[in-house]
C-alpha cells in the first residue's frame, strides 16, 4: 500500500474501524469460497467415482471433447485472472484508471471464454453429444459409443454450465464495479469489494484449472 491514502472512509455501522471491516470482508469471502469448493468438489468427486467404475467409457467421452478448445479457454481464463490480479493491485495503490482498464480486460477475456464455450457446445450439438436433447448412441463417424459416454457427458454439461453460471455472476460484478469506478473516490472506498471480487474470479479460474484436465485430458482409461 502506498502512503498517499485518502481520508479513511467511515466503516459500516457494526464495525469499529476500517481494518476490522476489511478483515471481515476477506474472511467472509474465503468462507464463501470454502463452501464453493465443496459445491463444485462434490460434483467433481462424483465424476471421478463414476470414472473409477467406467474407465473405458469416460476415456472415450474425453476423446469426444475438443481438447484444443479447452486448452485455449484455459489460457484465456488464466489471462483474465492475471488481469484481475493487476486490477486488485491497482486498487490497492488506488489508481482508478488502471483498475478500470484491467477490469475491462478481465471482463473481455471472460466473455471470450464464454464465446468459445458456446462454440464448443454448438460442436457438441452437431456431434449428438448433448444428453436429454440430442444424444445419440452412435457417433457421427458411425462408431458405436459405449453406453456410459452419456453419463460422462452429463457430468461435462453439469460442471461446465455451473462454471459458466459462476462466470456470468462474476462478469456482472465486474461490470458494475467497472462502471462505478469512474466516480471519483469510488476505488478508494471499495478496496474490499474489488479485492473480494478478485478472490471470486480467481476461484472460478481455479475451478476451471481442475475441470480442464478432469474432463478433457483423461484420454486413456
Amino acid at each position: 500500500m502506498t502512503s498517499h491514502a485518502a481520508v479513511e472512509p467511515p466503516p459500516a455501522f457494526q464495525f469499529e474501524d476500517a481494518a476490522q471491516q476489511s478483515n471481515a470482508a476477506t474472511l467472509g469471502m474465503w468462507a464463501f469460497l470454502a463452501s464453493e469448493v465443496l459445491f463444485f468438489g462434490s460434483l467433481v468427486v462424483s465424476l471421478m467415482i463414476c470414472r473409477l467404475r467406467w474407465p473405458q467409457a469416460f476415456a472415450e467421452g474425453a476423446k469426444e471433447l475438443k481438447w484444443w478448445l479447452g486448452a485455449i479457454n484455459t489460457a484465456v481464463l488464466l489471462g483474465s485472472s492475471y488481469a484481475m490480479a493487476l486490477a486488485v493491485e491497482a486498487a490497492e495503490k488506488q489508481i482508478a484508471k488502471r483498475v478500470i482498464r484491467n477490469l475491462l480486460i478481465t471482463a473481455s477475456l471472460g466473455i471470450i471464454f464464454l464465446a468459445i464455450k458456446g462454440t464448443e457446445y454448438g460442436l457438441e450439438y452437431h456431434d449428438h453429444l448433448i444428453p436429454a436433447i440430442n444424444y445419440s448412441a452412435v457417433a457421427p463417424d458411425g462408431a458405436e459409443r459405449l453406453p456410459q459416454v452419456q453419463l460422462f457427458m452429463i457430468f461435462y454439461f453439469l460442471l461446465t454450465l455451473l462454471h459458466a453460471f459462476h462466470m456470468l455472476i462474476g462478469l456482472t460484478g465486474i461490470g458494475i464495479i467497472a462502471i462505478r469506478a469512474r466516480r471519483p473516490g469510488y476505488v478508494e472506498r471499495s478496496k474490499n469489494m474489488i479485492d473480494g471480487l478478485g478472490l471470486y474470479w480467481h476461484f472460478v479460474d481455479i475451478v476451471w484449472v481442475f475441470l480442464f484436465p478432469m474432463l478433457y485430458l483423461l484420454r486413456h482409461p
Binding site: 476477506t26 469460497l33 488464466l78 490480479a85 493487476l86 480467481h202 481455479i206 484436465p213 483423461l218 482409461p221
Partner: protein
C-alpha cells in the same frame, strides 16, 4: 509486484502446455496399474491452483486465519473423497478373508 504476477502467469501457461502434452502419453501402457495419467494431471492442476491461490489471491501475505479458511474447504473435500473412495475401492473386492473358514459357533450348529 506486477512483475512477479507476470512471472506467475507465464508459469501457469507453461504448466498448461505441460499438462496438455502429458495427456497424449498413455502412461498405463508403460507403467500399468497406477493411473499415472490421472496422477500427473491432478498434480499439475494442484500446482496451478496453488500458484493462483498464493499469488493472485495473495494468500501468501494473508493472515493464518484466512489460510485456515482456504485449507478447510480443500480438507473437507479430501475427507469426502478419501472415505468414499475407500468404500468404492474395496467394494467388489472380496478378499480371501471372505472365504477363509467359518465362525466356530456356526460350525457347531451345522455339523
Amino acid at each position: 509486484m506486477s512483475r512477479s504476477l507476470l512471472v506467475i502467469f507465464a508459469t501457469l501457461l507453461c504448466l498448461l502446455a505441460l499438462t496438455v502434452a502429458a495427456a497424449f502419453v498413455d502412461f498405463d501402457r508403460y507403467l500399468p496399474g497406477h493411473n499415472w495419467g490421472l496422477r500427473i494431471a491432478l498434480s499439475i492442476a494442484i500446482a496451478k491452483a496453488l500458484l493462483i491461490a498464493l499469488y493472485f489471491m495473495h494468500l501468501k501475505r494473508d493472515s493464518r486465519v484466512t489460510v485456515a479458511f482456504a485449507v478447510a474447504g480443500v480438507l473437507w473435500l479430501a475427507i469426502f473423497t478419501v472415505l468414499t473412495v475407500a468404500d468404492y475401492a474395496t467394494r467388489n473386492h472380496p478378499p480371501e478373508l471372505n472365504f477363509k473358514g467359518e465362525p466356530r459357533y456356526l460350525q457347531a450348529s451345522t455339523r
